[in-house]
């Protein structure tokens, strides 16, 4: 009982302390607001986008900004603003699912297990991680995405046929699945190693030892004593991870291996303008401004996640306080 009260007191005050410390990091706050805005735009894309992402108007292609199309139109007469907003939604979905599956669930889970049980389990997880990280990273992602797509598409078509439903393939879920699975092998190892090291250092501290001798179950020790101690580093890696996942999606879609047209993605928009082959610079030459809006969004996201991560390191590292 007393223990519980103490716990709740310390946790509220530390949350308060956290926010008051964070609010002192001016750049961090600005970045947090910017990122939050971008994510909200992505989540509410259906309500915010003035047009559908695939609405074409062939009478008005490559047009400059005006009242109808605030950011102008692309080579098929699609509204660029709408495509950017829908593209942000893609990024939001991919980053959040990527973070949840890869870094958080897989990384955290394996890290806790390897750190707590050690031995053969730790050995297998660590060697697997070393194996995965010895691949050239972008190449592995591209290779996986291109190999997986036909298989996954086939699976979905057979599901549609067998269950007599439609719309599954056209909903774009295949794209998200392909990107998610392609990013998975590389995303968990960093988090896992970090959590494992934390657990190593915690598991022999007196209070964990005494919890164990007083008969607490492993599950209770892990959730009550170990997990709260790894939350801070987890938060930091997650922040850096979000920027990395966003960029990976852009790269995959840029190469035409991620989100497929006509579904919008910031990466695909870049490829439309700057050309995948290096030879087609005609759009870049005549309408360079079309590059601007997707690039700025990507840039802000990567920049801001890094700034927020740096701010978190400063705040959460007790030595620096």
């Amino acid at each position: 009982m007393i223990n519980n009260n103490l716990n709740s007191i310390s946790s509220t005050s530390s949350t308060k302390l956290f926010f008051s410390n964070f609010s002192r990091k001016k750049l961090g706050v600005i970045c947090a607001i910017l990122v939050a805005t971008i994510y909200l735009v992505g989540i509410f894309a259906p309500f915010l986008a003035p047009y559908d992402y695939s609405d074409t108007n062939l009478l008005k292609t490559q047009a400059g900004p005006d009242f109808e199309n605030i950011l102008g139109t692309d080579r098929l007469g699609r509204d660029i603003l709408s495509r950017v907003i829908w593209g942000i939604q893609t990024t939001v979905i991919v980053t959040i699912t990527g973070l949840l599956t890869g870094s958080l669930i897989l990384g955290l889970f394996l890290g806790l297990l390897a750190g707590y049980y050690r031995g053969i389990f730790d050995f297998i997880v660590m060697r697997t991680g070393e194996l995965v990280s010895s691949f050239p990273d972008i190449l592995l992602i591209i290779l996986l995405a291109s190999t997986l797509r036909p298989r996954i598409t086939n699976i979905f078509y057979s599901i549609e046929d067998n269950l007599n439903i439609s719309g599954l393939v056209s909903s774009g879920i295949i794209d998200y699945l392909v990107i998610g699975i392609a990013l998975l092998p590389l995303s968990w190892f960093g988090t896992m190693r970090l959590i494992r090291a934390q657990v190593f250092s915690i598991r022999n501290i007196d209070y964990v030892q005494s919890a164990r001798t007083s008969g607490a179950s492993t599950f209770r020790i892990v959730t009550r004593h170990v997990l709260p101690n790894v939350l801070a580093p987890l938060l930091v890696t997650a922040t850096f991870g979000l920027g990395a996942v966003a960029l990976s999606e852009v790269i995959l879609s840029f190469f035409g291996l991620g989100v497929q047209p006509p579904r919008p993605s910031l990466g695909a928009m870049l490829a439309d303008v700057s050309g995948r082959g290096g030879s087609s610079v005609s759009v870049l030459k005549s309408h360079p401004e079309q590059l601007l809006s997707p690039i700025i969004i990507i840039w802000i996201m990567i920049f801001c996640w890094n700034i927020i991560g740096d701010a978190l390191i400063d705040i959460l590292n007790p030595r620096k306080n």
């Binding site: 194996l131 190999t147 030459k285 590059l291």
Partner: protein, 309 residues
């Protein structure tokens, strides 16, 4: 110590075998049929089967893999599916050289810009100059290559007409300037952050305080005592850059039309030219693993405080 080295060296071939097994699996069970590609419109069951038999594609998976590995060890990565009658090694060697040249120049640019800026930020730690440099570096660090490349092309190639848009002509050709800058600027940002934090850490140590206390001139302290020690972490990054030397910068090579390893790896992924993909992945992984080992050894040599265990 010796035990540790042996263990590490023993682990490398196992690691590479596993890497090759995974890529080989993707190649065999991935979509696309090499025989179909090779025959094109002349495809018929009989000749397809004959070719399959000849290429050993009817053998069990494991036999195929062992066969591939035993050839790969001697440098024979088989023949490309797409470029007929050309061996993979013959195809890849010139591309490796192109990528290596581009990466060396980019690395030099990154060093020349990055180290002085990081040094400058660190000695101004506490003054407003330091965060300014840090934010400046972070802006470039976060700047996607997708932006840097078209931006540079737009200004220097399309507007000012100083250099051609794309192409390749070796180190002493002006077409290398833009791609090397694109890669180099991003790398420089990494060096700024690295050198800065390691310099700040070193400047806070007791031996620097002692040097200052006994009246060593500030220049001597900075250059002789601090800077040399602050360079240690650069070794790590240098090692990884060396490993990446033959890796090719995928995006940059595509955007600037450079015939390097990045370009051909993407092309072979598109055309499902698995022998080429497998060779590229194997070469890349080997470079990474071996570079990692070398970094660790160099590290212990230059910093005796690190214990091998």
């Amino acid at each position: 110590m010796l035990n540790y080295i042996l263990r590490r060296i023993f682990w490398i071939p196992i690691l590479l075998l596993l890497v090759s097994l995974i890529v080989f699996f993707l190649g065999v069970y991935g979509p696309g049929d090499p025989v179909e590609v090779q025959l094109g419109n002349n495809y018929d069951e009989q000749s397809a089967n004959r070719i399959r038999e000849k290429m050993g594609l009817n053998d069990p998976f494991f036999i195929q893999w062992v066969h591939y590995i035993s050839n790969a060890v001697t440098g024979d990565f088989g023949e490309s599916y797409v470029f007929k009658n050309r061996s993979v090694s013959e195809l890849l060697l010139p591309k490796l050289i192109v990528s290596a040249k581009l990466n060396i120049i980019s690395f030099l640019i990154a060093l020349i810009i990055g180290i002085p800026m990081g040094f400058y930020a660190a000695i101004n730690y506490g003054s407003p100059k330091d965060p300014l440099v840090v934010i400046f570096a972070l802006i470039f660090y976060a700047m996607p290559v997708f932006f840097t490349a078209p931006f540079l092309i737009l200004i220097f190639a399309l507007q000012l007409d100083l250099v051609p848009v794309s192409g390749w002509g070796g180190i002493f050709d002006k077409r290398i300037i833009l791609p090397a800058l694109t890669v180099g600027v991003g790398g420089a940002a990494v060096f700024v952050r690295l050198i800065r934090s390691s310099m700040i850490e070193v400047l806070d140590t007791d031996y620097i305080k002692l040097a200052r206390a006994k009246g060593v001139s500030e220049n001597m302290v900075l250059w002789k005592h601090a800077f040399r020690n602050a360079l240690l972490p650069v070794v790590t990054i240098m090692g990884f850059s060396l490993a990446g030397l033959f890796g090719g910068s995928l995006i940059v090579e595509i955007l600037f039309g450079i015939p390097g390893i990045g370009r051909i790896s993407l092309d072979s992924v598109y055309s499902r030219d698995y022998p080429v993909i497998m060779a590229i992945v194997l070469i890349g992984s080997s470079a990474l693993v071996i570079a990692n080992l070398i970094i660790d050894f160099i590290y212990t040599l230059i910093d005796p405080r690190i214990d091998m265990e």
